[in-house]
Amino acid sequence: MTTQAVASAASGWVECRVGDFHLETTWEVSPGQVLVLFGPSGAGKSTTLRAIAGLLRPVRGHIEVGGQVVYDGDAGTWVPTHDRRLGYLTQQYNLFPHLKVAANIAFGLRDRRSDAGKDRVLELTSLFQLEGLADRYPWELSGGQQQRVALARALASKPAMLLLDEPFASLDAELRRTLRRELRAMLAQSPVPVMLVTHDREEALALGDSVQVINEGRTLVTGVPLDVLGQPGQGRVARLVGVENLFDLTVQERNPRDGTMTCVGPGLRLEVPLDSQVSETGTPGGGQDRVTVGIRASDIILSKEDLQGSSARNRLSGQVISVESRPPGYAVTLDCGQPIRCHITGAALEEMGIQPGQRLWAVFKASSCFLVDENRV
């Protein structure tokens, strides 16, 4: 083999059963793309990765890695884990404790004793800034260094696909960002399909090219991270991804000319984007439709004065109920008839001198509000 094959997409579907738990999922990832599996613990994200890795036998399904069928339930194809050419990384770095850093990285290399193998280890140690650590044992490394070694080890033999199971979850925020950058840079250099399990929204947005929300063994939605995680249209998805403000309101008036409608609820009156069923329902100006409206906490501006004469359609006045630290910023909750949560930076908090009990205005555009369909699945 003189030329290296162009990386192929990874795809497949599986049905797995682990005890009472039942998982059905489908995926497709192009080389260099990151598919984020997002969902609560026990949703089936890790199970999916373990099935792809061959560490768990599905009931039925079809799995392709690097252009090769590694599992097919009907055809009886089963390629064992060690022949699947994967990189698999978990939250517990699982560095081999009895091997030094260099030996850990070289572990999967067939030619690890040759010059080519040694060059590959050197290449990876410099790529992941591990110079000078080659002779250390894993217990002599910091958490971030351990995760870098684990990443280097997973990449050493140029896998056809990367499976990352919450790889950065036990690191601090700063390190997580650095490692994400490094992972991105590495992907640009050698594009392989990546599946990443996380329940960190920031991570999903930073790394994902697409995101698949999984709950209780079922895929709820697949799409662009900003759409799916920012303004999720499904009620269950909105709750899973943690939309901070969800209000049950009644449509009072539809304004098709502006593309908005006015919705009211206990103590609240909001301008939100017009729903699509205007023509069907056909009751402009007097609908009794109940809707759920979502607003992301980071889309809300806090102001000491009423921003009259601004373009923002929603200006609500309320008392500060609580101020909580939420690294890197703060979460402020206002009582505007119903509690509204806003995320602001520490600098803003200091500058405005926000204290519980203070009266503030919450300001946001009609287009920052989105409708959540409680019944759609």
């Binding site: 890795a53 061959g54 560490l55 064992p80 884990t81 060690h82 022949d83 699947r84 050419r85 994967l86 990189g87 698999y88 978990t90 517990q92 699982n94 081999f96 404790p97 009895h98 091997l99 572990f107 999967g108 067939r110 044992y137 894993p138 217990w139 002599e140 080890r153 997973a154 050493a156 033999s157 499976l163």
Partner: protein
């Protein structure tokens, strides 16, 4: 003022007094006989002669050869067995667990009698063995059998715990890196379990070297053939105390050397600070 002292601790006085007293008694109880053995041996004028006597060297050689053979058998057969016990939670594995512990609680003399009943001339399969030309009782083979019987649990139990401490995750990761299950066993599982296996091996070896009861019953006390160190000490005692003393000191020296070696083999730099 006590409050100014940052390291003032609450002392558990009753535990301190009782524990300290116990420690002193224990040191005396174990240390005194050992010391006495050395002192008496040193007072002996012909100590070196006794140590290098034919009888002593023959017994020493037999003890070393038989224990090395029995340990080789225990390690070769016991390691895969221990791995199986560590990785299986089936009923048969748990029953096996109890069987492995049986020799620990069985008096060695009983073990000797039991082996005689199985492999002896009139034993269960003794005549079958004889018909294919195998005579086990009262031979060097019987010495090895007796040692394996009483000493193997020490190794198997310890190796099993060692294997259990190696997370399945390490084996999974190794396989995702393209290493087959067989290679994974030799490159990951075995090295990680090695410290525990050495601990077990050390204990098993000590037990094999000191084996007396089962050997006496099943192998007898034939000089050069079945008379190991402990049996030689017993025989020497009947003639003179001096011969027994010399042999005892030799065994003691061996035990201490074994302890040191064990300490070296079971501590690895990769294990880090605990």
């Amino acid at each position: 003022m006590a409050a100014l002292n940052p390291v003032s601790r609450i002392r558990n006085q009753p535990a301190g007094i009782l524990g300290g007293g116990g420690a002193v008694l224990y040191v005396l109880f174990i240390g005194l006989p050992v010391l006495a053995l050395l002192v008496r041996a040193a007072q002996q004028s012909d100590f070196l002669d006794a140590v290098t006597s034919d009888a002593a060297l023959t017994a020493l050689r037999l003890s070393l050869i038989t224990s090395v053979i029995s340990m080789a058998v225990v390690v070769l057969l016991g390691t895969p067995f221990a791995y199986l016990l560590a990785r299986s939670d089936r009923l048969w594995a748990r029953l096996m667990d109890s069987l492995v512990e049986l020799p620990l609680v069985l008096p060695p003399v009983v073990a000797g009698v039991a082996m005689l009943m199985a492999f002896g001339r009139n034993g269960l399969i003794g005549s079958e063995l004889e018909s294919i030309g195998l005579t086990i009782p009262f031979t060097t083979t019987a010495v090895v059998f007796a040692q394996i019987f009483v000493a193997s649990p020490f190794f198997i139990r310890s190796a099993k715990l060692g294997f259990q401490s190696v997370g399945k995750d390490y084996e999974d990761i190794a396989q995702t890196l393209g290493v087959s299950p067989w290679r994974t066993f030799f490159r990951i599982t075995l090295p990680l379990a090695a410290p525990a296996m050495f601990t077990g091996l050390g204990l098993a070896w000590a037990r094999a070297l000191s084996e007396f009861g089962a050997t006496m019953m099943f192998a007898g006390n034939l000089t050069g053939e079945t008379q190991t160190m402990p049996l030689a000490i017993m025989s020497a005692m009947e003639k003179s105390l001096d011969g027994a003393l010399a042999l005892s000191v030799m065994l003691l020296a061996g035990s201490i050397m074994g302890l040191v070696l064990l300490g070296l083999l079971t501590r690895r730099r990769w294990q880090g600070r605990s």
